[in-house]
């Protein structure tokens, strides 16, 4: 989206929706490349569907799907040849807008006797086009917009990349067992926050336009006007995803529930299973914790201040004055879950969870945060107990 903080700009689908036959999908990628963009899309690497630079429809995971459950992810052949017949993998678009490792500032001097020159260089950002952004991922991008753009300070690294990005969303037509976007009210249908949105149907794609930039690209494609048959097929395909979602998270009063149960024995219980490995925070599309460290070259006269993704599960994360505040797994898991589902509301006015299910899938012991919340809700220790009857 070229205007990330604009309000919903969805065009009513029946007005301008177009149909792009399957054999013309390459035209979309070509148009984005011709628009001087680096196109990032799904591709298979090391038996997972990841997001990397693509240039051809042949790069896409055509005919593959992902089978997911807590602690488990496998690719399987589909019995059709759809391009987007998978759900979400270990990557999210976070890595392109909030890079895992980036230089936020530099310091240089000519020699040890001269003064330092300190800069915060503004990189010329890559003009990305994201192909295949799911509804939960659009929601995740909106969550990170609030973190990096909408507080008293703006992160220039995120700002530059975000402003330049073009988003091609894809509506889910199936769900994984780990999906719970319907509980978080983030999906599975893409409603806003995209430039173009595709729904893969028999013989091609229904394309909706969500921005002026999207309209320009759409115009350059050889699309046909979408007919009622295309709309019906798209609606059925989207409904299929809705019906496949079986996991739920009861979000009723969840902030008060979790912050009112900070001493609940369930934290100790989950700490016995949690490896504190940081996987959940690395795959989470909204986790934003990082650490800036100084990296000097061998001369010592050039220093990069490098920002790297960090995790509240790392012991050093809460290090202060010779001690660690969260010195056990219990306190670190509690920090992650209460931040994500509870205190995020205080900080940013919404949940930090979009229901993508990645933290379930990529957790080695398969910890399911929806079950952890349910366990706390079942034995709500607040006095007087309230909201525990649901």
């Amino acid at each position: 989206m070229t205007q990330p903080d604009s309000t919903s700009s969805t065009v009513a689908p029946n007005e301008e929706a177009q149909f792009l036959p399957t054999d013309r999908l390459q035209l979309l990628i070509d148009a984005l490349i011709a628009d001087d963009r680096v196109v990032i899309g799904p591709t298979i690497e090391q038996q997972a569907i990841v997001y990397e630079e693509i240039s051809s429809v042949d790069d896409l995971p055509r005919g593959w799907t992902d089978v997911q459950s807590p602690g488990n992810y496998r690719l399987e052949k589909r019995d059709d040849d759809t391009y987007f017949g998978y759900v979400v993998g270990p990557h999210s678009w976070k890595q392109f807008l909030f890079p895992p490792l980036t230089v936020v500032a530099t310091a240089d001097r000519e020699s040890a006797d001269t003064k330092w020159s300190m800069q915060a260089p503004q990189e010329d950002p890559l003009r990305y086009a994201f192909l295949g952004v799911r509804a939960c991922e659009l929601a995740a991008i909106a969550v990170q917009d609030r973190v990096f753009l909408q507080g008293p300070y703006v992160d220039p690294v995120y700002r530059a990349r975000r402003d330049a990005a073009f988003i091609v969303a894809v509506n889910c037509t199936q769900a994984a067992s780990t999906c719970f976007c319907t509980s978080m009210n983030t999906g599975p249908k893409c409603k806003s926050g995209f430039d173009l949105a595709l729904t893969e149907i028999d013989g091609g794609f229904l394309i909706e336009c969500g921005s002026e930039a999207g309209a320009v690209i759409l115009k350059s494609l050889e699309t046909d006007d979408a007919g009622s048959r295309h709309h019906d097929l798209a609606e059925n395909a989207q409904q299929q995803a809705v019906e496949q979602i079986s996991k739920t998270l009861d979000t009723g009063g969840i902030r008060d529930l979790l912050l009112g149960n900070l001493e609940h024995p369930q934290w100790e219980e989950v700490a016995n299973r949690c490896l504190s490995c940081t996987n959940c925070t690395m795959v989470c599309p909204t986790c934003f914790c990082s650490t800036v460290t100084d990296v000097a070259d061998l001369s010592g006269d050039h220093v990069d201040r490098k920002r790297q993704w960090d995790s509240c599960f790392n012991i050093d994360f809460s290090y202060m004055n010779g001690g660690v505040v969260r010195n056990n797994v219990k306190s670190r898991y509690r920090q992650w879950l209460t931040h994500k589902l509870a205190s995020w509301h205080d900080q940013f006015g919404e949940s930090g969870c979009v229901g993508c299910g990645r933290c379930l899938t990529w957790c080695p012991p398969g910890i399911d945060l929806t079950e952890e919340v349910a366990a706390i809700r079942l034995h709500d220790l607040r006095v007087p107990p309230e909201g525990s009857s649901s």
């Binding site: 936020v104 500032a105 310091a107 001097r109 003064k115 330092w116 020159s117 300190m118 800069q119 915060a120 503004q122 973190v147 990096f148 507080g151 008293p152 300070y153 703006v154 992160d155 220039p156 912050l259 900070l262 001493e263 934003f288 914790c289 990082s290 650490t291 800036v292 460290t293 100084d294 000097a296 010592g300 220093v303 201040r305 960090d310 509240c312 994360f317 809460s318 290090y319 202060m320 004055n321 010779g322 505040v325 969260r326 010195n327 056990n328 219990k330 306190s331 509690r334 920090q335 209460t338 931040h339 509870a342 205190s343 205080d346 900080q347």
Partner: protein, 286 residues
Amino acid sequence: MSASYPSACVSTNPWLNHSATIARITQETPGVATYDLVIDDESVSVSFHFAPGQFNMIYLPGVGEVAISISGAASSGPSIIHTIREAGNVTRALAELKEGDSVGLRGPFGSSWPIEQCVGKDIILVAGGIGLAPLRPVVYEVLANREQYGNVSLLIGARTAAGLLYGDELETWNQSIDVQRTVDRSTSEWTGHVGVVTVLLERLPIAKPKNTVLMTCGPEVMMWYSIRTALSRGMTDESVWLSLERNMNCAIGMCGHCQLGPQFVCKDGPVFRYDQVASIMKVAGL
């Protein structure tokens, strides 16, 4: 929790450090020194304004940054004053520097003490160790406008007499406000109070608890007991303020390190009204 907005120094790019020269170093106590810093770029220097309680990030290229509260008066001219205790990598490297050397500076960041709410009221300041440094700008403000405030008491605790900060100044302050000191361990030359600072607070007459503001900075356990004492003396949650410390890496609410429950200590704090943090201060490891 006074509203604070990014100053001109940090609004364009919050990651940008400004080069500053160490104009003066004053050795305070063993391991603690005060650094007067002057931002080299004059246009940045004149636009630098802070409120008592706010902090800067001090940067040593190749070593890193550290969050340090400003300990000087708001009217200290181009000098921005920080009292720093050697505690970690950056502060130890700082201790090696001499006058004329340069450092980087970003700021000011964070919330400030509620001085504007203290006009016409009695004030109690409770400081432990290096915690006196973030409170010193309040003292300066009170001394500069002494007639605006009622009874003002400054209660200072330190481990030993040698660890009492700003020794010479305390005598001057004591002519305008009530300054009381105590040490945990007495030494032969010490003739004053011995014991924790909360004992001073327990003995302090609080004539109008509903019309008194308490501000405290020091070890968390010291602040905790000071606040409990204040509340037991009839003061309310809304008139008790404290300055918290957490690992601050970015200072702009983006790195996540300093979170304490819903609060980002760097931008929602470091100064909090007690009711903002009362419930979360009780939970270990939060």
